[in-house]
């Protein structure tokens, strides 16, 4: 039976939006925590840490996110865990996001002038104290615009979760399209929903960037 596209279908899509947003937030938090670790390893004074972080970034930036999703999805079953779409997507998106955040934040940490390191060293700060009290607080300002910019990518890429059967916005769209047979309308509306989240984020990142450049 073919259904008409009405308010019910629209609300159903809007409801699925919360999974997309939830997934984006989880990926942002997970990717942020691991990404910070990668960035710190990447600028570490100890070379093997730097190599490790570089390899991690190179590896995950050169792997399709879809492959990562499949590997985690089928890999979970191999190590005896249940093949659960949500955990698979979370792990895959965390790996993916942390590689990009690691690279973005490495740049931000290195953009803090060398004199800040020298000054704080002269004051007798240890490496970790320098990082925590002097360098990281200053790099946050540099890192914010590109971080917000990358969040746009993250929100869009949660759509790949639909391919392994996670019920977020794109999955819901396929569902609604299958019962209404109105692809242009359904995908148009869903595209607009993604746009409504991504475009403000993009504008915010651009404003932050202009503000940052003006302040300098």
């Amino acid at each position: 039976m073919i259904r008409e596209f009405g308010t019910v279908e629209f609300l159903y899509l809007l409801g699925a939006m919360r999974w997309t947003l939830g997934l984006s937030i989880v990926a942002f938090v997970g990717g942020g925590i691991v990404g910070l670790l990668i960035a710190l390893l990447r600028v570490s004074p100890w070379a093997p840490f730097r190599w490790l972080a570089t390899a991690y970034i190179q590896l995950f930036q050169a792997t399709p996110l879809l492959m990562l999703l499949f590997l985690v999805f089928f890999g979970l079953a191999l190590v005896g865990l249940s093949q659960d779409a949500f955990s698979s997507v979370t792990i895959a998106l965390t790996c993916y996001a942390s590689a990009y955040f690691g690279e973005i934040w490495r740049g931000s940490i290195q953009a803090v002038p060398q004199t800040q390191w020298q000054g704080s060293a002269a004051l007798g700060f240890s490496y970790l104290e320098q990082m925590r009290h002097v360098v990281l607080p200053q790099s946050v300002r540099i890192a914010t615009p590109p971080t917000v910019g990358f969040m746009v990518q993250l929100v869009k890429n949660t759509s790949l979760a639909s391919i392994i059967g996670f019920h977020e916005l794109t999955h819901a769209a396929q569902y609604v399209n299958n019962v209404t047979l109105k692809p242009i309308l359904v995908y148009g509306i869903v595209g607009a929903m993604y746009f409504a989240v991504c475009f403000p984020l993009y504008l915010l990142s651009r404003r932050l960037e202009e503000k940052f450049n003006a302040d300098r």
Binding site: A62, P64, L66, M67, L71, S159, T170, N177, F195
Partner: protein, 223 residues
């Protein structure tokens, strides 16, 4: 973990995987060509002083950059037939990927054009250069040279993103991998090998782009 890895059936399917990889590379190279062309034209439109050229280009770029590629692909593959345009999966993939790549290329090329000093443009005009050669030699070449590294990373993302077109049944690398996995029930092994193949393609692309940058763009002295 009491799982024994069995790669035998994956090696047996290698010729098909290589065919898939060839399609992935063909699609990516074609997309890069068309996308760069769209990018150059739209970047010129976006930096134009005519609003009727600037506005549509801006709408195109923002609409594409702020929606998922998967939705764009579904729009083309499932949506266009209801308007009477029926595309084969490979054609739909090429159209979708090119439109997507074009929007990102536009933004990058535009940044390059913005970086060209105004004085050079005025000098070229004062010396009576014809407009087409100003566009080609004074605007586009320096602009592309300035942003080529950014374009190269975007092109690698295009290649990696092509995995997604397997969802509309294109038999590129991921599509073939999916078929093989449903035959031999060894998904993890198949995707592990395919991931390694993607890594190899990505690093090859990187090396090629670095060579293009060095021997084409950088070899022609800076102004």
């Amino acid at each position: 973990m009491d799982y024994t890895f069995q790669f035998g059936s994956v090696w047996a399917a290698m010729p098909r995987l290589i065919e898939g990889a060839k399609l992935t590379i063909t699609l990516s190279v074609a997309t890069i060509g068309i996308g760069l062309l769209i990018g150059i034209l739209c970047a010129l439109a976006r930096t134009s002083h005519r609003a009727w050229l600037r506005r549509p280009a801006a709408v195109y770029v923002e609409a594409i950059r702020n929606t998922p590629f998967l939705i764009q692909l579904f729009m083309i593959y499932f949506g266009l037939p209801s308007l009477g345009v029926r595309l084969e999966p490979v054609q739909a993939a090429l159209v979708g990927m090119s439109i997507n790549c074009g929007a990102y290329a536009t933004e990058i090329v535009r940044a390059g054009i913005d970086a060209v000093p105004r004085g050079q443009l005025e000098a070229a005009r004062a010396m009576g250069f014809p407009v087409p050669s100003i566009v080609r030699h004074v605007i586009l070449f320096p602009a592309l040279r300035a942003v080529f590294p950014a374009l190269a990373s975007q092109f690698i993302l295009v290649m990696l993103g092509s995995a997604v077109v397997s969802t509309v049944s294109v038999e590129e690398l991921t599509g073939v991998a999916h078929l093989i996995e449903t035959e031999n029930f060894r998904p993890f092994e198949v995707y592990l090998v395919v991931t390694a193949m993607y890594l190899a393609i990505a690093f090859t692309f990187k090396v090629v782009f670095a060579a293009v940058d060095r021997f084409y763009f950088q070899a022609r002295g800076r102004a």
